[in-house]
């Protein structure tokens, strides 16, 4: 995907380069409990983006001076594997990864009921296995599912999607060419049942009217994704019920 010329993002038939309609999500796959050692874990695939996440804790914090008296400390690392991108990425953390780790941490902290575990730590690790647009949000969702899989109480599951503008059209769930060449990229993460936004960023260019349109589209996409997440969490137990 290292072309220098901007491709056409919206084709003559009104569809996108991957054949989707402007308001159509990429195919998604989610699974929880994928790692043996971690207290909670998950794998998420969104189109060709693939993330694995693991949670350890709540556990004793080291070094102990990091302990907070009234709540758990959350430690988060978002990391891209060197082979997750077209060009090899150096494994040492880039400024981009540092920023993303921070915004993911802040989003997660607003969902976890951190007051239940004073002086402890909850560690969350995300590894990008394949990067193909939307890695921060896929990682955040993977992390949220892994936290729930660990049995850590939360206000709600986090569902997230990026909306944006490509060739003048407001589109849902950006793909890589749209992410790279589009006019705007607006990632949004929410706790849908309590209508709270815990991550929002934008780069690019939108009028306030387009922005309103874009966040409306994001809300709708988020609802669909949220239902899939619930399905993923519950199906594990429902299958069992039917078997017996």
């Amino acid at each position: 995907m290292s072309q220098n010329q901007k491709p056409k993002l919206i084709l003559e038939n009104g569809l996108r380069t991957d054949g989707r309609k402007p308001d159509e999500l990429r195919p998604m796959k989610m699974e929880i409990g994928v790692l043996k050692n971690a207290d909670g874990s998950s794998i998420i695939e969104v189109g060709n983006t693939k993330i694995i996440a693991a949670v350890y804790g709540p556990k004793e914090i080291h070094p102990r001076h990091l302990a907070l008296p009234g709540r758990a400390t959350i430690r988060v690392r978002y990391h891209m594997m060197p082979f997750s991108t077209d060009e090899r990425k150096s494994p040492s953390p880039s400024r981009r990864e540092i920023e993303i780790s921070k915004v993911i941490r802040e989003a997660l902290e607003s969902s976890i009921l951190v007051e239940q575990f004073p002086r402890s730590s909850i560690d969350v690790f995300m590894e990008v296995i394949q990067a193909d647009a939307g890695t921060r949000l896929a990682s955040l969702m993977a992390a949220s599912l892994a936290v729930v899989d660990a049995g850590i109480p939360v206000k709600d599951i986090i569902a997230a999607v990026a909306v944006g503008k490509a060739d003048g059209v407001i589109v849902l769930d950006l793909n890589e060419p749209e992410d790279m060449w589009g006019e705007a990229d607006l990632p949004v993460a929410m706790m849908p049942s309590i209508n709270q936004v815990n991550l929002i960023q934008m780069n690019g260019n939108l009028t306030p009217e387009e922005f309103k349109q874009a966040i409306d589209l994001a809300s709708r996409g988020i609802q669909t994704i949220y239902n899939m997440e619930k399905e993923t969490l519950k199906s594990k137990y429902i299958e069992f019920k039917e078997e017996s």
Binding site: L68, R75, I98, N195, Q201, N203, N205, F211, K212
Partner: protein, 276 residues
């Protein structure tokens, strides 16, 4: 790893209570109205060795931005435009808990947000920073140093960057036969600016929204949202900071509050920078 900060100041609970009571009456403890910005003062050319510089005060928050130009090769994917590099540093002299050393996640995030606003707004016409197409271009280093931390350094940093860029003159270029020579000692063209960009931060405390939080307010904010605007009211960057959340309705409100504030700040900038 990004870790929940543990060195944040302890805010007396009584203070939060009293702030909320004030807000209920439509006023802030610092005497400002909820949507009132602090006064901005700009001193251009504060650092004389820089190609452009500006000392910006937003209330007591003080930020110094300097621009340096260096001749470099263009990036492969942008052969016909100059490069832009933005860096924000939270200096130890600016605040008690700021530590020396490489930039932490807060400084990195600030840098990247300011960078995106400058880039995505197309404030600078990077295509005019070419010395020889495909071979030699200007790299614009915008270094922003926070000298006194009194809240909302992001908005102050964007203002400082823009002011310093408007203050910048490129080194003189001299055509010598087939080649173009750079005369570093002499100033030439002004930095090719299209228009300014501003960032407006709106904080949320309980159910109240306030513009341009100061340091005491920042200590008790649930969360804050920063939006960047161009003079024609395009949104060119959004970043949410902090642990709390917004409802979709609140985001809508923040956007309209920030947009109105942006118009005022842009007015002020145009006046102080003498731009049309």
């Amino acid at each position: 790893m990004s870790v929940t900060p543990s060195n944040e100041n302890i805010i007396p609970l009584i203070k939060k209570e009293s702030m909320l009571v004030s807000l209920e009456h439509g006023i802030r403890q610092n005497g400002r109205k909820p949507f009132e910005y602090r006064p901005i003062s700009i001193t251009l050319g504060y650092a004389k060795k820089a190609d452009g510089s500006a000392l910006v005060k937003l209330g007591d928050t003080t930020v110094l931005a300097g621009v340096k130009l260096e001749e470099e090769q263009p990036f492969e994917d942008t052969p016909n435009q100059g490069n832009l590099v933005v860096n924000v540093e939270l200096l130890p002299l600016a605040y008690e808990t700021f530590e020396p050393g490489p930039p932490d996640e807060n400084a990195i995030e600030l840098s990247r947000v300011v960078d995106r606003s400058l880039r995505d707004s197309k404030s600078i016409d990077l295509t005019k920073l070419v010395i020889e197409p495909g071979k030699r271009v200007w790299t614009v280093w915008v270094d922003i140093y926070v000298l006194d931390y009194s809240g909302n350094v992001l908005d102050a940093s964007t203002i400082a960057a823009i002011a310093a860029l408007y203050d910048t003159k490129l080194p003189k270029l001299l055509q010598e036969g087939d080649s173009i020579k750079v005369i570093k000692e002499e100033k030439g063209e002004r930095m090719p600016m299209n228009y300014p960009v501003v960032t407006v931060t709106v904080g949320k405390i309980g159910k109240y929204l306030i513009v341009d939080p100061d340091i005491e307010e920042e200590g008790i904010l649930d969360t804050r949202l920063s939006i960047s605007y161009t003079p024609d009211k395009r949104m060119v960057g959004i970043q949410k900071f902090g642990i709390g959340t917004f409802s979709m309705q609140e985001i809508d409100q923040v956007e309209s509050i920030a947009r109105q504030a942006s118009a005022k700040i842009l007015e002020e900038l145009k006046k102080q920078l003498g731009i049309g």
